[in-house]
């Protein structure tokens, strides 16, 4: 049995240590917010936070996540919406929405490190792929979040880190 900490709770799973974290989350723990898009770490639909870092969970063996804090989209806010999720609604970012859970996680990680990212920093960090083409709104939402300091922008604390 492997012990995992996902969304602040301990979970025991009986899986191969090489099984990618994505599939442990999706098929064994029922967190389907992280998505499979490519399986090779390119598209970023599977992005989750591991100790606050945005990680492509489709290429991270579950053994590498043991003892670390894993946060999925389901655990981003204890109640209601994380401020990044709220900004995604305010700016009507998603289209089909399939890549957006990963995109939101990537934005959470970026803003935690760089509260006011430049366009270049967004270009460098937000490497998630979106087939619908929501990029202009992703950029706009991130800039809007940078303008509004976290404390004033929402009631949800940054517990997700």
């Amino acid at each position: 049995m492997l012990e995992l900490i996902v969304n602040s709770r301990r979970h025991s799973v009986d899986v191969e240590p090489e099984m990618p974290l994505l599939w442990v989350l999706r098929d064994h723990l029922g967190f389907s917010g992280a998505k499979y898009g490519c399986g090779v770490g390119i598209c970023g639909s599977c992005t989750v936070l591991v100790d606050g870092e945005a990680v492509r969970s489709c290429t991270m063996p579950v053994s590498a996540a043991i003892g670390r804090k894993v946060v999925t989209i389901e655990g981003l806010a204890e109640n209601g919406l994380h401020r990044v999720q709220q900004a995604w609604i305010d700016h009507q970012v998603p289209q089909c929405g399939y890549c957006q859970t990963g995109m939101i996680i990537a934005a959470v990680a970026l803003l935690a490190k760089v509260p006011r990212p430049s366009d270049e920093e967004i270009d460098r960090t937000m490497t998630n792929l979106c087939r619908c083409g929501t990029y202009a709104r992703v950029r706009k939402a991130i800039h809007a979040l940078a303008e509004a300091p976290p404390a004033a922008a929402g009631k949800v604390p940054e517990e997700s880190r």
Partner: protein, 717 residues
């Protein structure tokens, strides 16, 4: 029987794609006759609960294009309910069959979701409003003409008495629907026509399980699939010993065209799949490659006695007498849809003999027909649960291959739900691709540079032959292969369009804005003609468009908005293109720059769209942005090559999608002129490639006659 239904459906759909014809359905009125309908079901589209919650049923699919919200807005507008209390649900395909197809078409393609059902759903809303008024009048024992409805309340004007819709719904549902209703003038819209937030977005940002791949059922197993890599091949033999010994594996399923592994998680199924030793019979297609396909299309271009998709005047004679001839050949590669959610289907043969299916589909009724046929069950014994689509773009409508496979797999594990999901590699290599095509263009100019003749020869595989054979035109003309030329808006006195259908073995399908490659060919070539004539590209086009033509209006609008003719920053160049299609008129100006090493950057796109009416402006802008990014990948680097009978590309490393850093500024000018209903899901992709390539010509002096750009040296000549 299922096939007959779906065929008929396909024919009706195909008749409307591109032609701008609205589909007509009868007014819903049979709801009360349907046993088991909820008490507050006023008609098939609207259920009002005692707490005033309004549930609007949506027959079309939601794949990010915003149709779900737009249709709800149109219903709510006429119903005049409180938007904050509106909820939606997808109409059930099974109920649809049992209710004599009460919801009309469930097909979601051709940018028709709103425009082909707007009349029906608005009438449903208006009819329900009148029935609620009738119920209130009966309760008060007054004339209905003294009552009015607004914002979820019916008011008796003389006395000021009011009743909530929720208090009236059960009684209203028992009334006969009015024979005639009047619809609101769009100028007076309060809910429609506004940039209301999309109803599906909160669930999506919360990561709720709304997609086909998110289905989770008690005891469910997971399947991964391997199809013959050479299209049309068959399974000869598979050694599954090693796979079957792997952890979690329950079963290896063998079918004519695929092998699937079923396990207790998808990863285990897919790992076991890699251990299969499969012997495929390629059935003669294993030698096909890019060159054989190019030769096939080239033979089509040279063929005699081709069917004509258009003949106006006498093009050969006019060409013979022209002052000048301009000729060019253009081509395009196959392209995969690459929906980010791979194809998926969950199927469960229940112990009572009923089959339930969950899938991401652009056509719930077609999924139902495919599932029923595969299972050998009557339509009434099958239900399809329509999930949100992780992208559609035409992949998940006509072809229901994934549904048939999902049902075939689950049929071997009766009583157990099985979720099939394709790997990205399967998805990349088993698409229904945008056809590869070649076109030869010959134009005759008079002494003033005006076009007196255009002779177009198109060699292109036929999508309709694969997906809707019943809707081919006379002499086998596939309108998706000839559009843009067969319906060209430019006033050219002599036109001929020859079509060589050359199909090959690669399956082709409706890739966003089917036939969009013809816009690239035509509008690039028009720029070649403008250059030959020494004219400005905008002025040259305007001179060929009749006064009042909406193509002309959007071209003027985009030229104004983009500042056509005004100075540009150093190193930035412009190109223009127009296109009409999917019911709308679109014109675009692209601004590009090209670095010293030939690296092209699309910097700014200005697009003007006339769709007649606009139901949700912000969402229409989002669709234009979407078309730009979707099209940009196919301009910059996407192509699907064929080698040894199979698609070469396997994943996003060799079939790249644009990243945020490549996103141009997109400015959308919504310019609705009213009087018709056009679409938004596809039109803006039509002028993109030619606008960009015309700008690249201005930047480099190089005329791009094939895509993608990664095949070209773009250093300035």
């Amino acid at each position: 029987m299922s096939i007959v239904l779906s065929r008929r459906e396909f024919i009706r759909v195909s008749a409307a794609i591109g032609g701008g014809m609205a589909l007509e359905f009868s007014l819903p009125g049979v709801a009360r006759a349907f046993p088991g309908a909820p008490i507050g079901e006023i008609n098939a589209w609207i259920v009002i609960h005692p707490d005033d919650r309004v549930v609007i049923r949506i027959a079309r699919s939601e794949m990010g294009q915003g149709t779900l919200t737009a249709l709800a807005q149109l219903v709510a507008e006429e119903l005049d309910c409180d938007w904050a209390k509106v909820d939606t649900e997808f109409a059930s395909p099974n109920e649809h069959i049992r209710r004599n197809r009460v919801w009309g078409s469930m097909s979601t393609g051709g940018s028709m979701g709103v425009r082909s059902s707007q009349d029906t759903v608005r009438r449903a809303g208006a009819s329900a409003r009148e029935m609620l008024i009738g119920a209130a009048a009966a309760r008060w024992q007054v004339s209905a003409s003294e009552c009015s409805a607004a914002n979820g309340l019916v008011t008796h004007r003389p006395t000021g008495r009011m009743l909530r819709y929720g208090e009236l719904a059960a009684e209203a549902a028992k009334l006969a629907p009015p024979k005639e209703v009047s619809l609101r003038d769009p100028a007076a819209w309060k809910i429609a026509g506004k940039s209301l937030q999309r109803l599906d977005i909160p669930d999506k940002v919360l990561g709720r399980p709304v997609f086909g791949v998110d289905v989770a059922l008690p005891g469910m197993l997971h399947a991964s699939i391997a199809q013959c890599p050479v299209f049309g091949g068959r399974l000869r033999h598979v050694d599954s010993q090693a796979a079957e010994a792997m952890r979690g594996v329950r079963k290896v399923i063998r079918r004519e065209g695929f092998v699937a592994v079923v396990a207790d998680s998808w990863w285990r199924a897919n790992e076991a799949l890699k251990k299969l030793r499969i012997d495929w019979d390629h059935r003669g297609n294993g030698q096909a490659n890019n060159e054989t396909i190019a030769a096939m299309l080239g033979e089509g271009l040279a063929a005699r006695n081709l069917p004509e998709a258009r003949r106006v005047g006498d093009a050969p004679a006019a060409l013979a007498g022209a002052a000048r001839i301009v000729e060019a050949e253009y081509r395009s590669p196959y392209l995969n849809h690459a929906t980010l959610e791979p194809q998926t289907c969950t199927a469960w043969f229940r112990s009572d003999g009923f089959l339930e299916v969950w899938t991401s589909t652009q056509n719930g009724e077609a999924s139902l027909a495919a599932a029923a046929e595969e299972a050998g069950l009557p339509l009434e014994r099958v239900e399809v649960h329509k999930m949100m689509l992780g992208g559609g773009f035409g992949r998940r409508g006509g072809p229901q291959d994934f549904v048939r496979q999902g049902v075939a797999i689950a049929s071997e594990l009766r009583g157990t739900p099985v979720k099939l999901m394709w790997s990205r590699q399967e998805d990349m290599q088993h698409g229904f691709y945008r056809p590869a095509s070649i076109v030869r263009l010959r134009a005759g100019l008079d002494a003033q540079g005006r076009v007196v003749a255009l002779h177009t020869r198109i060699a292109c595989p036929s999508i309709l032959t694969v997906l809707m054979p019943g809707s081919l035109g006379k002499e086998g003309i596939d309108f998706t292969a000839v559009r843009g030329f067969s319906d060209m808006p430019y006033a050219v006195a002599n036109q001929q369009v020859d079509y060589a259908m050359r199909n090959g073995h690669v399956p082709v399908g409706f890739w966003r804005a089917p036939g969009q490659q013809n816009s690239f060919y035509r509008e690039s070539f028009i720029d070649e003609l403008a250059l030959a004539a020494g004219r400005d590209p905008v002025a040259y086009r305007l001179a060929m468009l009749e006064p009042g033509d909406r193509n002309r209006l959007v071209l003027e609008a985009v030229a104004r908005a983009a500042g056509w003719g005004s100075p540009l920053p150093a190193g930035v160049y412009r190109g223009v293109a127009i296109a009409d299609g999917f019911g709308s008129y679109t014109a675009m100006v692209a601004e590009v720059s090209v670095g010293a090493e030939g690296n092209a950057k699309v910097r700014r796109i200005v697009v003007a769209i006339d769709s007649g009416y606009v139901v949700n402006p912000d969402n229409c802008r989002a669709q234009a942005e979407s078309n730009v990014v979707y099209g940009l990948g196919s301009i910059l680097y996407q192509q699907n090559n064929v080698r040894n009978g199979r698609i070469v590309e396997t994943n996003f490393h060799d079939f790249r999608l644009p990243r945020i850093s490549e996103m141009p500024v997109v400015e959308v000018v919504l310019a609705p002129t009213g009087g018709f209903w056009g679409g938004h899901g596809e039109p803006a992709i039509l002028p993109l490639a030619p606008a960009v390539c015309n700008a690249l010509f201005a930047a480099t002096g190089r005329r791009i006659r094939s895509l993608p750009l990664s095949d070209h040296d773009l250093r300035r000549v």
